[in-house]
Amino acid sequence: MAALTAPAAASTATAPSVQVLYFAEPIPGFPGRRDYVLVPGDTAGLLFWLQSVAPDGPRFLAVSARDFFPDYRPVVSLAVRAELGLDDVDQAQILCLVTVPDGDPDEATANLRAPVVVAPSTHCARQVVQSDLDLPLRRRLRR
């Protein structure tokens, strides 16, 4: 029998690391907060904490949109791409902020109307509000 010596974490090709992100346009509702850290919430790259560096700033839980919503294609305009330094939208990290009503994970929802788009090369980010009103503000995570 093969020895199970390799720890699960080592099997992940690129373990997600902490990123320092800059929001030129603050996240709506939290004016003046432009500097955040993005911290992995798990080892599989599914969950993240988006934490303001300010001591009294907000912290958000976010999910990787590509993993949770593989068919999701938010629109990122040329102007936004230029601002973020994003040459290729497919390279962007797309995060959706999560709300957990009453602390019940079964009721957790992700905001697909306003994803956070992160440019991997510049670490610039922005919450990009979508015009498509069919995209839900609260998309349940549990299927």
Binding site: A8, L46, L47, L61, V98, T99
Partner: protein, 89 residues
């Protein structure tokens, strides 16, 4: 609040970099045009407020929920080492 009266074709300047143009007025509706640096977002107020409120709720999430949420991600088609690990368990 500052109020200004403008006619169609006239402009308002905000700071050094932002212009608001009155493009058309029809009945009780005004059509406005905006010139602003690309890092300045411009939203209808109710859209901004809706997103801000959703964000305010999202900022209240605690760490307890974390473990359960990862399980809600659809299973990817690519074989992961974790699955091999499960098969050997």
């Amino acid at each position: 609040m500052l109020t200004l009266t403008r006619s169609v074709g006239e402009t308002i300047r905000i700071g050094d970099d932002i212009e608001v143009h009155v493009v058309e007025v029809r009945g009780g509706t005004v059509r406005l045009g905006f010139k602003a640096p690309r890092e300045v977002t411009i939203h209808r107020e109710e859209v901004y407020r809706q997103i801000a409120e959703a964000n305010a709720l999202a900022a209240q999430v605690t760490a307890d929920s974390l473990g359960a949420l990862a399980a809600f991600a659809p299973v990817s088609a690519e074989p992961e080492a974790e699955r091999v690990h499960d098969a050997q368990a």
